[in-house]
């Protein structure tokens, strides 16, 4: 046999071997790669990988791939399309049957779609979130995550009564949020609801809980402590608490550009100095408030 034929055969054998090896890549490896690409926002590569797995795999592996594909349609930017994602999630929902964790998760994504449609379908979204919450296994962190999404729907429309209702509805989740990683976020959402409706007492309480249950992001912590200090100082007239939060800010976030002012103002409040050398005077505000109370 001529040499060049041997060379061609060897090369072809090599190509076939490599393709076979690639084809034998485990679906779980492909899924890991697909989610990695998804995280890096390389959606077309991720979509190809998900599609491959969805075609060849069965059961939960296939569902994972189908969910990935649906999420790409739902979230990829530009071109996100929650409306188009709805039938994909519905088809997946039909496949997963009674598997609680799967069903709950897909219902939550469906709810997200309805909350994002224009015009928004809040009632439908809430109904689906409720269904997801009832379905998800109690121990899953997805329960708290879904509850946050459900509560966030009350912040979505410029409707004061609805936001106030959201604050009340949130009470029913307080117990199940306690001690979970999302407890702080839960109180943060409550703080937003209280702020939107000018309920400063509830705002202070929620921010305090947000801080006490632990904040990950340093700039959020800086924000919360400063808001608490200012709120107690200018709206709730509790200067002892205001001073304490200012000091907390200076000691817990010493690299903050607000730390210097916080220390100065805490010292002034400790000395009983309402009218700051640095911030707008409080005495005028106190006089105004006194004046309002008089007939």
């Amino acid at each position: 046999m001529p040499r060049n034929r041997i060379a061609i055969i060897l090369a072809l054998t090599f190509v076939v071997a490599v393709c076979t090896a690639n084809a034998q890549e485990l679906p779980t490896d492909q899924l890991a790669l697909a989610w990695r690409e998804y995280g890096l926002q390389a959606f077309s590569t991720a979509d190809d990988l998900f599609a491959d797995v969805a075609e060849t795999a069965q059961g939960e592996t296939r569902w994972q791939a189908l969910l990935g594909q649906a999420q790409i349609v739902h979230y990829q930017m530009p071109g996100r399309d929650p409306e188009e994602a709805i039938p994909l999630y519905k088809a997946l929902l039909a496949e997963v049957g009674d598997k609680a964790e799967w069903r709950g998760q897909v219902l939550a994504r469906l709810a997200d779609c309805h909350a994002e449609l224009v015009p928004v379908q809040i009632d439908k979204a809430r109904e689906l979130y409720r269904e997801a919450l009832a379905t998800l296994p109690a121990k899953s962190l997805m329960v708290q995550e879904t509850a946050l999404r459900f509560l966030a729907t009350y912040l979505q429309r410029p409707d004061r009564a609805e936001i106030e209702r959201g604050l009340k509805v949130s009470d029913e989740f307080a117990e199940q949020m306690a001690g979970t990683p999302f407890a702080s976020v839960f109180h943060g959402l409550r703080a937003e609801m209280a702020f939107f409706t000018d309920n400063y007492r509830a705002l202070a309480e929620a921010l305090d809980q947000q801080y006490r249950t632990g904040i990950n992001n340093v700039s959020v912590k800086e924000d919360v402590l400063f808001r608490l200090a200012r709120l107690f100082e200018v709206e709730l007239d509790d200067y002892v608490k205001a001073e304490a939060y200012y000091r907390q800010l200076a000691s817990e976030v010493p690299s903050s550009r607000k730390a210097h002012f916080a220390t100065l103002r805490a010292d002034e409040l400790k000395a009983g100095k309402l009218d700051s050398d640095y911030a707008p005077p409080l005495s005028l505000q106190v006089e105004d408030a006194t004046g309002k109370e008089q007939p």
Partner: protein
């Protein structure tokens, strides 16, 4: 005949010399190539290649010194040889270089970050989140011995967090600040003093006095301040915190931040402040009072031209960042001083009643961040070099040599850099003339400000321009704000959906399985940011309140709103 013979002979000698010269040159070249190849192909030496864009004087030399120290230290520690090779690339092509090398999987071991495409950092670089939470081994024997690497940084290493995937990438080595440079010779010649006065008014008087002195000496080539349009911006660092009370008064959500946000719109539309406000006047006029001492036609000058004017001894003052200090120092042939900006204080006759103090530099960014690329052959060695570079001792040495301000706690700067050390005490200020970044309000403000600093209009003229054009610009920015907020929430939703995928399925991914605690904390982190992305409904509620209260400015702005705001926000 004899002359011709001698001419021939000398020609043949010169030919021999030329041939010899060629042979020697060629041999030397060959030898050099051989030497380089020997080093390149040496199997017993790990080569760490570093790429960055810092072409400032002295920087590369300082880096080489630290690199050689590391090579020795690493050999002493492990008995293995390592070589650090740096390659400085022009900033103009740097971004393209990193992107193409990243795609081609040929990125060097350590790459300076800061000019990268969004999302490219997690793709091309190795995260060091775990490492930054452990002590830096090169701080052993110091009081930082047990301190996590991240906490040895003045900024807590916040600048190393990538916003795409919330992981730490790389480590910075320096920081920067902006100061004034002065020509001590001219100062002495004109005023018989060695240092400029610290006060704002004294500084203005000095500039005026210098202009008079130069005129009396017939020195038309001299100017008090070397500046261009660029430096007019740099000199904004001399503003004091005159807006502080205005900001706190109108800070609706109590977070202390007023400016470049919705609160500007609501306060302006509600008539709570306008652009004739004396505090805004103090803020703007602080710089406008100075620009009269800039060289005529400064707006047409470019940055380098203005700096050249200073280094040539033609100006008393100039302003720039710490990155230019060493270049200035090496270019000038006069004693050069560096000082803080003389900002107005509380005793200032014109602005004093509004001054609350200086502006804090607590949030000066950390710079020269190197990260380990995924294509590094020796990622562990590269990381070790980063730790070496950012130990207190070496960070001090590196920054003293390069003349940059150090970024590690307790590292002492070079005497030239002492005036550049960050001053965290102080207050903060903000842009009270815009709602979002780079929108029509910024365009309106910038145009009016150039007119003001060029003294084509006075402050009232400046404020009139803003009052005339802001309602339309704010209407446009309001529309964009609602849209941006909505889009940013969706972008976060995308990141969150990735973490939800990792949380639910990560354990099925074999070796690629993420650490569950990390995924969980990223989910919480994303939610902490996400929950503030529902403010559109608050804005619309407050906006309606202003319209219902018949606030004239709110109605004026409303006239320019072209879209259905409620539909836009969701």
């Amino acid at each position: 005949m004899a002359a011709e013979e001698s001419k021939k002979e000398s020609r043949s000698w010169s030919n021999y010399v030329a041939v010899m010269f060629l042979v020697v040159s060629f041999s030397v070249s060959l030898w050099r190539v051989y030497e380089v190849q020997q080093v390149e192909q040496a199997t017993d030496v790990a080569t760490i290649r570093v790429v960055h864009w810092q072409l400032e004087a002295g920087f590369r030399e300082a880096f080489d010194v630290i690199a050689h120290r590391f090579e020795k230290a690493y050999f002493a520690e492990t008995g293995e040889r390592v070589r650090i090779v740096q390659n400085a690339i022009s900033e103009r092509v740097y971004k393209q270089y990193v992107q193409t090398q990243g795609i081609g999987k040929t990125l060097p071991d350590l790459v300076q970050l800061g000019r990268d495409e969004l999302g490219s950092v997690p793709r091309f670089f190795i995260s060091n989140t775990e490492d930054v939470q452990k002590p830096n081994p090169y701080n052993k024997g110091t009081d930082l011995e047990d301190v996590p690497w991240m906490d040895t940084y003045l900024d807590g290493m916040l600048g190393s967090v990538d916003q795409t995937d919330l992981e730490y990438y790389g480590a910075s080595s320096s920081t920067y600040s902006i100061r004034m440079f002065y020509n001590a010779d001219l100062m002495r010649e004109a005023f018989d003093i060695d240092e400029p006065p610290g006060g704002y008014r004294d500084f203005l008087a000095l500039c005026a006095g210098f202009a008079e002195w130069a005129a009396s000496e017939n020195r038309d080539d001299l100017t008090p301040v070397a500046a261009s349009k660029y430096q007019a911006d740099v000199f904004r660092s001399m503003r004091a915190a005159t807006l502080f009370e205005l900001m706190l008064e109108n800070d609706r959500d109590f977070d202390g931040d007023f400016g470049a946000n919705d609160e500007v719109l609501l306060a302006y539309a509600g008539g709570d402040f306008d652009y004739h406000d004396p505090r805004i006047r103090a803020d703007e006029m602080t710089v406008a009072n100075l620009t009269q001492y800039f060289a005529p036609g400064f707006m047409a000058m470019d940055r380098m031209e203005a700096q050249f004017r200073f280094t040539q001894g033609k100006a008393l003052f100039c302003a720039s960042g710490s990155w230019d200090a060493m270049s200035f120092d090496s270019q000038v042939d006069f004693p050069m001083g560096i000082c803080d900006f003389p900002f107005p204080d509380r005793q200032d006759p014109e602005f004093g009643q509004y001054v609350r103090g200086r502006i804090s530099e607590a949030d000066s960014p950390a710079v020269f961040r190197l990260a380990v690329s995924k294509f590094s052959q020796h990622p562990d060695v590269a990381l070790r070099f980063l730790q070496f570079l950012t130990s207190r001792e070496n960070n001090q040495r590196f920054n003293q040599l390069s003349r940059w301000p150090p970024v590690i706690m307790g590292a002492k700067p070079h005497p030239l850099m002492e005036p550049f050390m960050r001053k965290p005490e102080g207050f903060w200020t903000a842009d009270v003339n815009r709602i979002i970044g780079a929108g029509p309000c910024t365009a309106v403000y910038t145009q009016a400000r150039w007119e003001l600093v060029e003294h084509k209009v006075d402050f009232d003229g400046f404020a009139d321009m803003l009052e005339r054009d802001m309602p339309r610009a704010m209407a446009q920015e309001f529309e964009r704000l609602l849209n941006n907020e909505w889009e940013e929430r969706l972008a976060q939703e995308m990141s969150l959906s990735h973490q939800l995928g990792s949380y639910s399925f990560g354990e099925t991914w074999g070796e690629a399985a993420p650490i569950p605690e990390r995924v969980q904390s990223k989910m919480v982190y994303l939610w902490e940011m996400r929950m503030r992305r529902y403010r559109n409904s608050y804005r619309l509620l407050e906006w309606q309140k202003l319209l219902d209260a018949d606030e004239p400015k709110a109605h004026e702005i409303q006239q320019h709103i072209k879209i259905d705001l409620e539909r836009k926000q969701s």
